[in-house]
């Protein structure tokens, strides 16, 4: 109910001289929106990159999914062991009657109409084989008779695509004769056999008549007859039972047939080494000493026959691997992993199966199963089973789980796990890789099937920081001092020349710098490191000396050196100093880096040898030092320009004020200009830092790209950015390496984002503090 008179509301028409042109208004509005849209666009682009990168790496941090596929009735087939073909479609069942039975689970009765079929390996008929074992990785079955003999049945799978109807897998079988081993009437408990080309070894655990377990080894050799295939001949037999205390319960042979690993009923592990003419006990370990239970429940190799997964009665699980010990200079068995948490109570390791494709294995009890990844110790999947397991198998391609339950049903599950080797631990944790002596951070992506991919981001982050730190060590002092000198002391006419020169320097493609660094400077510098040291040492001293001379020069002489033109005298002086330092390098080297040639006893000066002898680190051609110099060169213009601007922009009144109070130019610069320009200087450094972090080409070309983690300035490194460039051609889209590179990119992105944000925040803070009141 406002009560305003209509006349008051009616505004007088604005005189035209005060009116703003329509086009001006439109343009103003348009620009307003355009700028807004631009700004939002930039933010959206950054968010988009972030979201895209995150989306790409998400699968790396997911576990496996396991889904029920089908259940097949195996009727009254007697099963004592189980295996599968390399394509995970033709499971095979070893029967105690000496036959192998196959079931095509993909093409049950559609195309080839095979269903369950049997093959006879050609073992003597009418015999019982109370011991059977199938090694899924080697596609071989071992049959042990009741009278102390065994045979090895090698299965070969062939894949064909008849009539293009889908894969048909055809097994082929070769069988060795029955070989004698151990006691004639002993009951086999375990047999393992390794064929390492010329050297073959079989080891068996048997129970003698008193029920005592004894262990025997038989060596074989290969004879080449004049005509025909080589023949395997039984060589010698050894009894190993007395090499250790207790009774042998578990048994495995390493792939090179050099070692027999025995687990005993008193919970000990023995590494028996095969040596000239016999076996010796190399090492005795109590793997579960001090644990809830020290009794070994199971002992199995992962593929490669180098790493053992051991479990105890309490379901605790650990891994022992054979690796080269630095201390004893021979191979030992050592604990490399511990898997937490333990298996659920009552579900201790009743079965174990691994895949040759990676380091995953299936382990579990009657009603529970889990898939673990050995490298990262992570549980990829676990679940309760609604049947009771008799036999279990992890598909060769890590794509299926197969169980035979107590009702002789084959229960088949599919496994989907595209990136089993990944996870937080894989990227950021210290991992004891197979064959290595200790837990490490490692990047080594080019792993094939027998080889664990090593995906740690830590060496790359380290390399990035190392490169950046060296570059900053070179660039920050030079760029800041140059900016300081240029803005405070140099004549403005010359100052105007410096800027374009710096811009040219900035626009030099880094690939050119990298090229120069790798091909010209690297060989030059690595041969004359002492010279470089001398230069680095002598230049600041020369500066101080020059200053001292200048300051003590009587005023009559000093007046010839005009303020702002000191560099005319200074620059040649510095160049001469640098030249002398460079020339003095070899002398310096001969005097201070003396090493003795071990062969001739001659004492010579050699920095490289001296460095290696004193620090144990090598001196490499392409190293962080060279990279630092060139990367420094690349980022000097960035730091210089921003820092110089911020120093020049300090209000002239500050300078006048200080000078009028009798401060020298130097005092003015230090006490007034520097603090006021601190914000700009700080952000110059940070932006330079950000550039160094993202720099790729120089590092790619001049570091050697070895992903090692040392602080040694004379060794190379690999940075996150260079890593992406190096590995990209190898990375199949959607693969683990591909996504790992995206993770590297995300880290890089987050890193630079963080640095720039910190730089900006700090700059605002400092700016507020030193803001001049105008």
């Amino acid at each position: 109910m406002s009560h305003t008179s209509p006349e008051k509301n009616e505004a007088k028409p604005l005189p035209s001289r005060f009116q703003v042109g329509k086009s001006t208004l439109y343009f103003d509005n348009f620009m307003n929106y355009a700028i807004k849209i631009g700004g939002i666009g930039v933010i959206a682009a950054i968010c988009g990159i972030f979201i895209f990168l995150t989306y790409q790496i998400m699968p790396l941090f997911r576990g496996a999914t396991v889904e029920f596929e089908q259940s097949l009735d195996l009727g009254d087939l007697k099963i004592s062991a189980m295996g599968i073909d390399p394509w995970s479609q033709l499971p095979l069942f070893v029967s105690p009657d000496g036959t192998l039975n196959f079931y095509d689970i993909v093409d049950r009765d559609k195309d080839y109409n095979r269903g369950l079929f049997q093959m006879d390996p050609g073992l003597p008929e009418g015999m019982e084989y109370p011991f059977t074992r199938y090694s899924n990785h080697e596609d071989s079955a071992i049959f042990g008779t009741a009278d102390g003999r065994f045979a090895v049945v090698q299965v070969e799978f062939e894949s064909t695509h008849p009539d293009y109807r889908g894969r048909e897998v055809i097994p082929k079988i070769t069988t060795t004769p029955l070989f004698r081993i151990g006691l004639e009437n002993g009951e086999f408990e375990e047999i393992d056999y390794v064929d390492a080309g010329r050297s073959k070894l079989a080891v068996a655990i048997q129970r003698d008549e008193e029920g005592q377990r004894r262990i025997f080894a038989v060596t074989f050799s290969q004879n080449q007859p004049l005509i025909g295939d080589p023949v395997t001949v039984r060589d010698r037999e050894f009894e190993l039972s007395d090499l250790f205390e207790g009774e042998a319960q578990f048994l495995r042979l390493t792939g090179d047939s050099d070692f027999v690993i025995v687990g005993t009923d008193i919970g000990e592990l023995h590494l028996l080494a095969r040596e000239r003419g016999g076996f010796t006990n190399r090492q005795t370990i109590q793997p579960f000493a001090g644990r809830e239970s020290d009794t070994i429940r199971s002992m199995n190799f992962l593929s490669g026959r180098l790493s053992l997964i051991l479990t105890n009665e309490a379901g605790e699980m650990m891994m022992y691997s054979i690796f080269h010990s630095e201390e004893d200079d021979h191979r030992i068995l050592g604990r490399t992993k511990e898997f937490q948490p333990a298996l659920p109570t009552g579900q201790g390791a009743a079965y174990f199966s691994h895949t040759p494709r990676n380091k995953a294995f299936l382990v579990g009890g009657p009603n529970y199963a889990q898939i673990r990844y050995a490298t990262t110790e992570a549980i990829r999947w676990d679940g309760d089973l609604n049947f009771t397991v008799e036999h279990a198998l992890l598909g060769r391609r890590y794509d299926r789980l197969l169980f035979v339950d107590t009702e002789n049903h084959l229960q088949i599950f599919t496994v989907t796990d595209p990136h089993p080797e990944t996870g937080w631990k894989a990227y950021f944790g210290k991992i004891h890789y197979e064959g290595r002596t200790e837990p490490e951070f490692m990047w080594q992506s080019d792993g094939d099937d027998d080889f664990e991919p090593k995906l740690s981001m830590v060496p790359l982050i380290w390399g990035t920081l190392k490169g950046t730190v060296f570059a900053m060590l070179i660039a920050v002092p030079i760029a800041l001092l140059a900016a300081f000198y240029t803005s405070q002391f140099l004549k403005p006419e010359i100052r105007r020349l410096i800027k374009p020169v710096m811009e040219i320097m900035e626009s030099v493609p880094t690939v050119v710098l990298g090229f120069l660094a790798a091909l010209w400077l690297a060989p030059l510098i690595s041969a004359r490191i002492p010279s470089v040291f001398l230069i680095i040492l002598s230049l600041p001293m020369a500066v101080i000396a020059f200053g001292a001379i200048l300051a003590n020069l009587p005023i009559q002489f000093r007046k010839f050196i005009k303020p702002g033109y000191e560099f005319l005298y200074f620059a040649p002086f510095m160049m001469l100093t640098a030249y002398f330092a460079w020339q003095m390098g070899p002398l310096f080297e001969a005097l201070f880096f003396r090493v003795e040639n071990p062969e001739t006893g001659e004492v010579v000066g050699s920095f490289a040898v001296w460095w290696t002898e004193t620090t144990d680190y090598p001196v490499r051609l392409r190293n962080a030092f060279v990279v630092g110099i060139f990367m420094g060169f690349a980022i000097i213009p960035t730091i210089f320009t921003i820092a110089e601007d911020s120093m020049t922009n300090v209000p002239q009144s500050f300078r006048s004020g200080a000078l009028a109070l009798g401060a020298s130019r130097w005092q003015t610069a230090i006490s007034v200009i520097l603090p006021t320009a601190a914000a700009g200087i700080f952000s110059a450094i940070m932006i330079g830092f950000g550039r160094a972090v993202g720099e790729t080409m120089i590092l790619l070309m001049a570091t050697g790209n070895t992903p090692i983690m040392t602080a040694n300035p004379f060794d190379g490194m690999r940075t996150l950015a260079a890593n992406i460039a190096v590995e990209l051609p190898e990375a199949a889209q959607g693969g683990t390496l591909y996504r790992s590179l995206f993770l590297g990119a995300l880290l890089l992105f987050a890193f630079t984002f963080f640095i720039n944000t910190v730089a900006e925040v700090m700059r605002q803070k400092l700016r507020d503090r030193y803001k001049a009141v105008e």
């Binding site: 403005p492 009144s653 500050f654 000078l659 009798g662 603090p675 001049a772």
Partner: protein
Amino acid sequence: MNDSTETLQQTPEITRKEMDNPDKTDFRQDYISFRNYNFYYGATQVLFEVNLDIPERQVTALIGPSGCGKSTLLRNINRMNDLVDGIRHEGELLIDGTSAYDPTVEVISLRKRIGMVFQKSNPFAKSIYENVVYGLRVAGRKKKSTLDEAVETSLRRAALWDEVKDRLGESAFGLSGGQMQRLCIARAIANNPEIILMDEPCSALDPVATGKIEDLIHDLKKEYTIVIVTHNMQQAARVSDRTAFFYLGKLIEYDETEKMFMNPAQKQTEDYVRGRFG
């Protein structure tokens, strides 16, 4: 105000002068002396044949329309113009008998002798305390008691002490415009110079602050030679002993202030001081 003057007089730099010239009236009449002085910014001549003798321990005011070269003249005295590119001068500038541009003259020590207060106050981004002692610090004085004493004395003289004595450690940027200007004066006196140059020190100040600074100038005159540029005729009349009128880079008239304002010899001067200048 009186007791602070006494403290200041106890410092040796001040008493030295008095021992040299025990007779206070026997001050040099040509303490700062421009002789046929021409000054150029690049190709533009700004000062033309200036002949000016500024007496010791008096206040000399420089007046004249904008752009006539007052600041340039002032900035020549402590060689602040050295910072400018392409400057050139002809003729002589003597300070206490020695040429300011003699190559053997240390410009730094020259500037220590000559304090300057700028048109726009320009405290540093430092605390009030540090602003005042800046000149002493760059001269290498470190003793805390000396510095403390100098701060109190100069702030008292600049009539700022009571307003800031409780926040000496705070940033100088927290002060008001007038306080900042007085801080800049304090900063200049803390150096114990012989000459103080003031370039329109009150142009940004209210009448109260202006009054305080004028009192201060009056007071400082006992020990310092003061040259002040001002556009305010009343101010020139109030504070100065002698006045120089410049027009287009030339010194038109220079005389006792009273004479300049009451009975100027030149028509231009009369027009200017009467405010009849077109």
